[in-house]
Every structure is written in C-alpha cells, then in structure tokens.
Point group: C2
Chain length 262, copies 2
C-alpha cells in the first residue's frame, strides 16, 4: 500500500500542566526525543497563562473550556505560549540534542486562521485554522532537514492580528495537512492513562476504540464532558488521512500505552 | 572584486522604542519590506520589558545600560521579546506580504551564546554570542527561500538556559557571521538622525566617518556615552567583514540618510 511507503511522523500534543511543571517537562522532552522517525510537538500553556493573567490583574474568562481572549488576554497568551513556554521547551530540547525550532502559526505563515465569528459568543481574538491553508511545504522542509517544529497555540489572521487557538486543534490541523506526505500518528497527552471504562479505575483503560464503539460509550455515559471534543477531533483527523490517534498520559509516550483510535 | 559578486543582505536593528509604538512600528515595517535585496530584522524591546516588569512588581536593575537579568527578569524578557514583541512584528510583516519568521537564538540553535562571567559584575542570565558558532547554514537557507528572519534579543547556552542578549550585539553577530556569504550592511536605527557634530543641531549630521575620524570625534568629546559602544561594535563589524554600517533614524531607512561608517 502507498500508505506504508510514506515516512512516519509523530505529532505529540502536551497540555499546560506539563509545560508548567519543570520536572515533568524535562522528563517528557527526553522521551519525546527518543521517539523513532520524524516528530513535531504542539504545546498548550493555559495553566501558566491563567497564572500570569492573575499576576497582572487580568480576569480569566472561560466558556465551554475556551478562553475568552480580549486584547489584554491576547498579549498574555502570546507572551506565555510563544514566549516563555515555547522558548523554554526549545532550549531544553536543544540541550538534549534535539534540533528544535519554535513556531507560532504566524511564523512563515505556517498556520493561517480565521477569527471566529462573534455570534453567538464573542470569544475575541480566537482563531480556527484551515488545514488546507497550512504551509505544509515549509513544515516538511524543516522536518526533512531534521529540525523538530515546536508549535505553540497562537496563529494569525494574515491581516496583522495574532489569534489564540486551541492546541488540540493545532495538532489536528497540522496532522491532517501533513498526512498527505507522511504516515501520521497523533499522540494527545493528557492527565489520564487514556479513555477509562470506569473513571475511578485506572485498570479499566480501553486499549482500542473505533467509531462504532465510541458511539456506544457516549450513549452509555462512559465518555463525557471534555473528552467528547477531543475524541470528535481525533476521529475527524482519522477521517481526513491521519493513520492513528493515541490518547494517553505523557509518561507513557514511549510505550504508546493508552487508548488507540482507528 | 569578489565582494561585489555576493548577494546583498541588509540587517536592520530597531530598538524597543519603535517596537512599543504601534504607529511607528507599522510605518517602519512597511519601509523595511521595501528594502531591495535580502533582509533580516533584529529587534529590542527594553521599554516594554521594563513596563511589564513594573506591572508584575519586579524591580528593573540596569548597570552600564545593561539589564541585570535574574530568573524572574529572564521570564519577563523572554515573554516580551520572543513572545509579544516578536510575534506581533511577524504578524504585521505577514500582513504586508513579507514572509517573516521569528527566531530566538535557541531556535534551530541559530545563535548559541556563553553566559557572562559573574565577575566583576553578575548580570545573571545574560549571554554573549560567538559569531563563529552562529548557524549561518540555517539562516542562509531561510534567506534563500525568501523568508525574512526576525531575531529577538534572546539566545541560549546550549545547556537548557535562555539568555538575555543585547540586540545591537545580535545584529553584529549575525552580520559578521553572514558576511562571508553576503555583502552585508547593518542599519542601526536609533532616536537620532545619526552621529551629530553638535548634539543640539540636527543639521550637523556627520554623513560619513572612518576609524581615524571616529578617534578624533571621541577625543574632541563630540561622540560620548551610549554612542561609544555602538560605534565600537560597528567598526568591529567592518573589521570582521561587514561592508558598511549606517547609524540612522528608523524613519530614514529607505533613503539611508544617516552616518555611514566605513
């Protein structure tokens, strides 16, 4: 099959809880560097952004798990995600011999996005990227030069405005766009071991899940809340060419133990 | 002469006073984009960093015009320089059709630096780059792909630490390193029209200056204070292969009117 002839690319997404924990971050980056094949990192930074906003006396307003991003908040998230968070990760990767390059979606116009409509809810400077407009040529050139792209959760509208963009969505967008050229696996790292059959029992990890099983788990109320958009996104990625999505705890990145969606 | 066969590269350095002034910044970036030939931008952000430090209740300590950079201050300058300042410039350049890519010296290990000795003065996380270690291969590849590198004043020690580095020095370092491949002119933009024979008379602009004239002006007390390190750096750059250095006001970038050192 043609699919098997493509080079493999692992796209790993980590959340703000790891980015803000120096010990967990270093240990995670060490594992990330050991992954075989080409790789690309996407990171959030929400925990740090909320802390920084608080220090600056800026109120954090969330709706459906998304940050309402006024002008002041855009400045905070850009400072935290593209500045401290991103460059700190890049410096740590360089230390262990991984030739990382930090990027926002504005850099080399890698990820153009469209500012979200203010109706029904005005999220402010929040953008939704279009996989078809992703600059895959430039990102591939980096990857082929053994440079590891590290994306923060900031994009732009191609009209001078930076935009706050969900990190899961960045991973989805880049993965979908690059799936034509690479055999892509997305690793969504989060605070659990994967999708659990019983949320109170870590041993109830569901190892594999297809669309039909997902529908049943949702119906049974086993999969609820924040997992739903994450998994919807994951199945959409698979629909659009991504080979595999694994939802797992960051500490299990190398073993790949988690819930594998296909 | 071999010199004339090299492609030209303009390296422009702007200070924090422009980065922090939206109208001046947009107008400057428009001019920058009109420059002929390859180009590269280096920006400071000291004004914004001091404001942000104040907002966060962090005391700004300067010595000989350099910021003493403890751990908290390193976070602030990284947020401001590599985050908000850098990405805002990149988004504005993208808007006008300039394919900009923001970089710290940690990204793709472009500018490794050495943390400054704590003796006689401990400046903290401050680094001095070595032009010989600059990753000219990667920077040239960007330039040859019509991507415009935009460097902020952050480097790294290759051992996991980011370092605060003077933006004039970044410009000097990159210019010197790239002068083997390109016919480089450095444009140091600052708040005056250039070197003035009489500091109170804007019409007393000195149009050209060589080393001998510089020595005389210093002796006569015409060139003093902050201009001395800037001009010392400029003549060092010329000594090390840079074709020309122009000290000028940002508004005169396109005409090139200022003090031309050779």
């Amino acid at each position: 099959m043609a699919e098997n002839k493509k080079a493999t690319l692992s796209i790993v997404k980590i959340g703000g809880n790891i980015v803000d924990n120096p010990a967990a971050l270093e240990s995670f980056l060490y594992d990330f560097h050991q992954l075989d094949g080409h790789k690309l990192l996407v990171h959030g930074g929400g925990v740090m952004a909320s802390k920084m906003a608080k220090q600056l006396g800026i109120e954090t307003k969330m709706l459906n798990g998304r940050r309402i991003t006024d002008e002041e908040t855009l400045k905070v998230v850009t400072m935290v995600y593209a500045g401290w968070g991103n460059k700190n990760i890049v410096a740590l990767l360089q230390k262990i011999g991984c030739n990382a390059l930090g990027l926002s979606g504005a850099d080399a116009n890698t990820i153009p996005a469209i500012r979200r409509s203010s109706v029904p809810v005005d999220f402010g400077f929040v953008g939704d990227p279009d996989p078809d407009k992703t600059n895959t040529g430039f990102i591939s050139k980096l990857i082929e030069s053994n440079i590891t792209p590290v994306f923060c959760a900031i994009t732009h509208d191609e009209n001078g405005s930076l935009l706050n963009t969900n990190a899961d969505t960045i991973a989805y967008t880049v993965a979908t766009a690059l799936s034509e050229k690479y055999n892509v696996t997305i690793y969504y790292c989060f605070e659990k071991e994967g999708v659990l059959g019983d949320v109170n029992d870590p041993d109830s990890l569901i190892l594999t899940m297809n669309r039909e099983e997902y529908a049943v788990y949702k119906q049974q109320g086993i999969i609820v809340d924040g997992m739903i958009p994450k998994l919807d996104n994951s199945f959409k990625a698979i629909n659009n060419g991504v080979s595999q999505v694994v939802v797992l705890h960051a500490k299990n990145l190398l073993s790949g133990k988690g819930t594998s969606l296909m």
